[in-house]
């Protein structure tokens, strides 16, 4: 399919898409206020936790990781589809990425910013978080490069840096376009942030090359970051964690959840800013196809885990995988199965996957399901480890709930500000894939 757009003029593209940047209405302010209140809730809870001790969270022996690491993995997962859409699909020249990739990239950056908070929040002594960095210090001490957590530090910071660079580079021509339409303060802001972009052929020459390299670098990064996150678990010896299928399983899950989050965010945006011409049903169908695919991978991984636990004849694994569906917190397991394996099956039906409301619902269900998946992995595995006398359970506390809510506020706060400040739709690239104007044969000389 060459293009799904009605042939509209470049001016119309600019007008339509830059209209998003018009001064916000009451709805936006309300949403921002909600997000900020959530951040305040989380900040309050965290301040108590820092001042008095991490014990205010429900995590306890033997479940040392709980909601915070669940949130961390959840947000890193959300981050994944952004880079997938912008980098991997760029390399595959999948044209349907164009209208969604900017918002997906923004989601990536903000989700990583959110995720990056959690390893610090979950520390017992968060004021010493910088000890995880290999910086020269008077103690002569370095860090342990053998620890998966240190790999995390490198992977997440690399991911944040690279995805931010990729995001900003993609933004420059669009900011330049916005600059040339804007007035006043905005014009000044865009003049600075567009770095003086003019779109000369000398710039485009390097830009296109560099963009390709960023995409090429980001593609293995997408795969590696969630693999590294999964190694936090897979590198340990905990029954239910110590398994080689974690990296592909986590990466697929991450893309799965990220796509769902893209749908969750774009559907209201499409409605609010009347972007139906740009974000068409066709785009959503494409995303649904990917969701069905990744849902399948995730389902397969669940089955494999059970099969291997049975086949290995390892009593610890076997017990663990008996405990998940039938144990104390089987709600998480069955919730996960429903949300991640069963609910997405409805997308096989064209009628349902072209129904925007249904899609929105399913995307939220998938988000919940993927959160439950991580909670399920973390909670159940830690609660039933090797020595039965040390088994224990976990009730999460209001502090963890508040901080989780706060993380959503934090994420949406960035996103809301972003869509009002910078072009949230990649107008340059939309123009690029439109058929360029040729000389009108009728008015040609000779």
């Amino acid at each position: 399919m060459a293009s799904w757009y009605p042939q509209i003029s470049y001016t119309k593209v600019d007008d339509d898409l830059l209209e998003i940047l018009e001064p916000p209405g009451v709805g936006w302010w309300l949403l921002l206020a909600t997000a900020l209140s959530c951040v305040a809730m989380g900040g309050y809870a965290w301040s108590i936790q820092v001042l008095e001790g991490i014990g205010h969270a429900g995590i306890t022996h033997p479940i040392m990781w709980g909601v915070y690491i669940t949130d961390f993995v959840f947000w890193v997962g959300i981050a994944h589809s952004g880079t997938l859409i912008s980098a991997v699909l760029f390399l595959f020249r999948a044209r349907w990425r164009m209208p969604i990739y900017r918002i997906a990239e923004a989601m990536t950056v903000f989700a990583v910013l959110t995720a990056g908070l959690f390893p610090i929040i979950h520390l017992g002594r968060p004021w010493n978080f910088y000890w995880l960095l290999p910086y020269p210090n008077q103690r002569y001490l370095w860090v342990n490069f053998r620890s998966p957590l240190l790999w995390d530090v490198f992977a997440v910071s690399t991911y944040l840096t690279v995805s931010t660079v990729f995001f900003i580079i993609g933004l420059i021509p669009d900011i330049a376009a916005a600059r040339d339409r804007a007035t006043g303060v905005r014009k000044f802001l865009y003049r600075i942030t567009s770095l003086g972009w003019t779109g000369s052929h000398k710039q485009w020459r390097h830009y296109v090359a560099a963009y390709g390299f960023f995409a090429a670098l980001a593609t293995p990064l997408v795969l590696s970051v969630h693999s590294v996150v999964s190694w936090d678990f897979a590198m340990s010896n905990v029954p239910g964690w110590h398994t080689t299928i974690f990296p592909p399983y986590f990466v697929a899950g991450a893309i799965f959840s990220g796509l769902a989050m893209v749908i969750t965010i774009t559907i209201p945006m499409r409605k609010a800013f009347k972007l139906e011409n740009y974000l068409t049903i066709w785009h959503y169908e494409k995303m649904c196809q990917l969701i069905i695919f990744t849902s399948g991978i995730v389902t397969y991984a669940y089955i494999t885990e059970f099969f291997i636990a049975w086949y290995s004849n390892n009593p610890y694994e076997r017990y663990q995988f008996w405990f998940r569906p039938f144990g104390d917190f089987n709600v998480a397991f069955w919730g996960m199965v429903f949300c991640n394996c069963v609910a997405p099956l409805s997308l096989w039906f064209k009628k349902l996957r072209t129904n925007i409301a249904w899609l929105f619902l399913i995307s939220i269900i998938i988000n919940i399901g993927m959160w439950l998946e991580r909670f399920n992995i973390i909670f159940n595995s830690l609660s039933r480890e090797f020595v039965p006398d040390a088994w224990g359970n976990y009730n999460f506390s209001w502090v963890e709930t508040f901080i989780t809510i706060g993380s959503f506020g934090w994420f949406f706060m960035f996103l809301l500000v972003f869509i009002k400040v910078f072009p949230a739709m990649a107008l340059t690239e939309i123009k690029e894939i439109m058929i360029p104007p040729r000389r009108d044969p009728a008015s040609a000389h000779h």
Partner: protein, 206 residues
């Protein structure tokens, strides 16, 4: 031209990396009162192929016990007078130093051993005697303090031949005792490294 610019950029990048790494090392010229032994002087240089970033005074501003700390004591005891003029040995008063983890501050009784007769007219000796007679504890200001998580054993260091001045400086020349070493971990470690002592964490932390 492009090629040349690229190389300049690369060199700048590399240099700044190195500079960042050396940041801690740069400032150690420091206004240390008495830099006594090589342990102190060696700090802040590249040595034996290892970077030494110890003792940066930059970070000392956060440390209440930085070098040069020189508190006023309840009785202005002069080490210089007692050691240089009266030729007293360190261990006469700090008797625990070779048999205990602590060097120990002498009991007031020991002071009174001499000062019941010597210089009794001095107002400070009278203050000392007052403390002794009224059984009122004498509260000295600590100069050399280690955090509680660091275990230090004077006995082992003295028996290994580490002189008092290695860490405490030339106390015999001090009217008022002053902290001449940072007593921070890197400072300890560099001396341990140079003398082949263990740098295993559990040597000092348990």
């Amino acid at each position: 031209m492009n090629v040349r610019r690229s190389w300049i950029l690369i060199i700048i990048c590399l240099l700044s990396t190195v500079m960042l790494g050396r940041l801690g090392a740069e400032g150690s010229g420091s206004a240390v009162a008495q830099s006594t032994e090589s342990t102190d002087k060696a700090a802040g240089v590249w040595r034996d192929g290892k970077a030494v970033f110890s003792d940066e005074p930059m970070l000392d501003i956060f440390n209440p016990y930085q070098r040069g700390y020189k508190p006023e004591q309840p009785i202005p005891f002069s080490h210089k007078l007692h050691v240089e003029k009266n030729k007293m040995e360190c261990q006469y008063c700090h008797s625990g130093v070779a048999k205990s983890p602590y060097a120990t501050i002498p009991p007031v009784e020991l002071c009174m051993g001499c000062h019941a007769h010597v210089r009794t007219e001095s107002p400070y000796i009278q203050k000392l005697a007052e403390h002794y007679e009224q059984k009122k504890p004498l509260e000295w200001e600590p100069v050399h303090n280690l955090p509680e998580h660091a275990v230090f054993n004077h006995e082992r260091h003295v028996k290994a031949g580490v002189g008092c001045n290695k860490c405490h400086g030339q106390v015999n020349e001090m009217e008022v005792v002053e902290k001449v070493s940072s007593l921070r971990m890197g400072w300890c470690v560099s001396c341990h490294r140079m003398n082949g002592a263990s740098i295993d964490c559990s040597t000092c932390h348990y």
